[in-house]
């Protein structure tokens, strides 16, 4: 048997790890996109919504933020199954993480909208713009700039949180790494490799956010 070095093991595990990266990326993409859309709605309801609806969203946001993500994952995977609704682990994970991230995104959107000075909305009213027009042309473009930094943070958090899906057997990057480690017990080396891969993925997101932020830098008060 050829000598087992880190590099031969890495070569052996290349497809497993690449597949892990693909799953992690796909999961993160679904979660970020879904939570951005839902968070936008949630944020709008929090700021402008009908009182009872706003209270419901607030309750949702607070509860979600107080529960460990792991429990949310178990709930969506097994909790629903108790009622005979069986969703695959991957989608249970997407729903759990997106539900959690939506709470954060709603808060972020609310904060951003409220940070736009009241005078802006009044000036928009004064020239006769309707509610949706004010939102579309005046409020949201300005809120976008405030949203970006915390949005990037949440996106990065979600990429990191996909690691928790290993518990329900989604073979994302961490579980793929652990499977490799279970075979060769090169613990530190492979965790380092995984760290590097996560870092690259997240750093790319951070840079993208910084790039967008710079594009909006002309908006000053």
């Amino acid at each position: 048997m050829a000598e087992r070095t880190f590099w031969t093991e890495l070569w052996n595990a290349k497809w497993a790890l690449l597949n892990g990266i693909a799953i992690t990326t796909e999961l993160s993409a679904y979660v970020v996109v879904a939570s951005t859309i839902l968070g936008l709605l949630g944020g709008l309801v929090l700021v402008y919504g009908w009182r009872p609806a706003a209270l419901l969203v607030r309750l949702y946001v607070d509860v979600m933020r107080g529960i460990p993500v792991l429990v949310l994952i178990l709930f969506w995977y097994y909790g629903l199954a108790l009622f005979k609704i069986n969703i695959p682990a991957f989608w249970a994970g997407v729903i759990a993480l997106a539900g959690f991230a939506t709470a954060h995104m709603s808060e972020i959107v609310r904060g951003a909208i409220q940070s736009v000075p009241a005078g802006q909305s009044e000036a928009a009213k004064a020239i006769g713009l309707r509610f949706w027009q004010r939102l579309r042309y005046v409020i949201l473009p300005q809120a976008t700039r405030r949203v970006l930094p915390p949005w990037v943070n949440t996106a990065v958090e979600m990429v990191k949180a996909t690691t928790l899906l290993s518990i329900i057997g989604v073979v994302e990057l961490l579980l793929a790494t652990q499977q490799t480690i279970a075979r060769n017990y090169m613990v530190i080396q492979f965790y380092l490799a995984a760290t590097l891969l996560y870092f690259v993925l997240n750093f790319a997101i951070s840079r993208l956010g910084a790039l967008l932020e710079r594009r909006f830098a002309y908006m000053r008060y």
Partner: protein
């Protein structure tokens, strides 16, 4: 001192319908009553100055006219049509948002802090209402915007963002944005504070220009010299009431009201 509960004499004499008529407007924040029954008429083409101590309710009244605040009692009519509220089945109801927007579009407002949209150039600031509210095609809106920016002396600054403009320039963009909509009435809230005398003179020039072209305006200001120059009539508010009104020369030379005399204080007598 005139009775502030009745519309003033001007319109009563001519019999013509005033452009704006406020009757007994009351407005409270929670339990604090800020406007305690304001009535006034503004004629087409008039430049009305609102003066009064800080907290007397001037800004609040302007905001009621532009429907940025709700008021609890009284009526404000623009061109004879009640604004903001309608009586249906004996109850006073707020009109729906779409109708509110249409009414607001007929009134322009220039804010004390300008409130230009920071993500748009001067030109885009002026164009927004023209395209989205008036529904004009972009090309036409751009022409109108350029025309007005030129008129306020900002032709070469039209591509600048607000943060690239000085206070006086931002002020003038705000004026152009309000008047380009061809409103029936323009409200100015303390447009001259924080401007130096030269810029005050500049803004004054623009406003006198507008007045000559027949624009109706209500102007809130603390600068009595400016008021004297620009206003055709002055209304003095105190504690949520209209306490005195009249042409500036008369009012300043010989204030009937004790309160107005003390308000004008050491400046009184300057207006010879």
């Amino acid at each position: 001192m005139q009775n502030h509960m009745k519309p003033n004499a001007t319109s009563a004499a001519t019999g013509a319908m005033p452009l704006l008529r406020a009757v007994d407007v009351h407005k409270s924040y929670d339990r604090l009553e800020v406007l305690k029954g304001i009535s006034m008429d503004v004629e087409q083409g008039e430049v009305l100055a609102l003066i009064g101590a800080s907290g007397s309710g001037k800004t609040t009244f302007l905001r009621c006219i532009n429907l940025l605040e709700e008021f609890q009692q009284g009526e404000i009519d623009l061109d004879g049509e009640p604004i903001g509220y309608r009586m249906t089945g004996g109850r006073r109801r707020k009109i729906p948002e779409a109708a509110l927007s249409a009414q607001r579009a007929r009134i322009g407002m220039v804010f004390q802090s300008f409130n230009l949209f920071p993500h748009m150039t001067a030109e885009q600031n002026v164009m927004l209402g023209l395209t989205k509210v008036r529904g004009k095609p972009a090309a036409e809106a751009r022409d109108i915007a350029r025309h007005w920016l030129e008129r306020v002396g900002l032709a070469e600054r039209r591509g600048h963002y607000p943060f690239q403009l000085s206070g006086g320039q931002q002020q003038r963009v705000a004026i152009a944005r309000a008047v380009a909509m061809e409103p029936r009435l323009v409200l100015f809230d303390e447009v001259t504070s924080a401007l130096d005398p030269e810029l005050v003179a500049e803004v004054l020039g623009v406003m006198q220009d507008l007045a000559r072209s027949g624009m109706t305006m209500i102007v809130v200001s603390h600068e009595m010299l400016f008021v004297r120059e620009v206003a055709s009539r002055v209304v003095f508010m105190d504690g949520g009431h209209v306490v005195a009104q009249g042409p500036p020369q008369e009012l300043f030379r010989d204030p009937e009201s004790e309160r107005l005399r003390s308000f004008l204080g050491r400046f009184h007598g300057v207006f010879s």
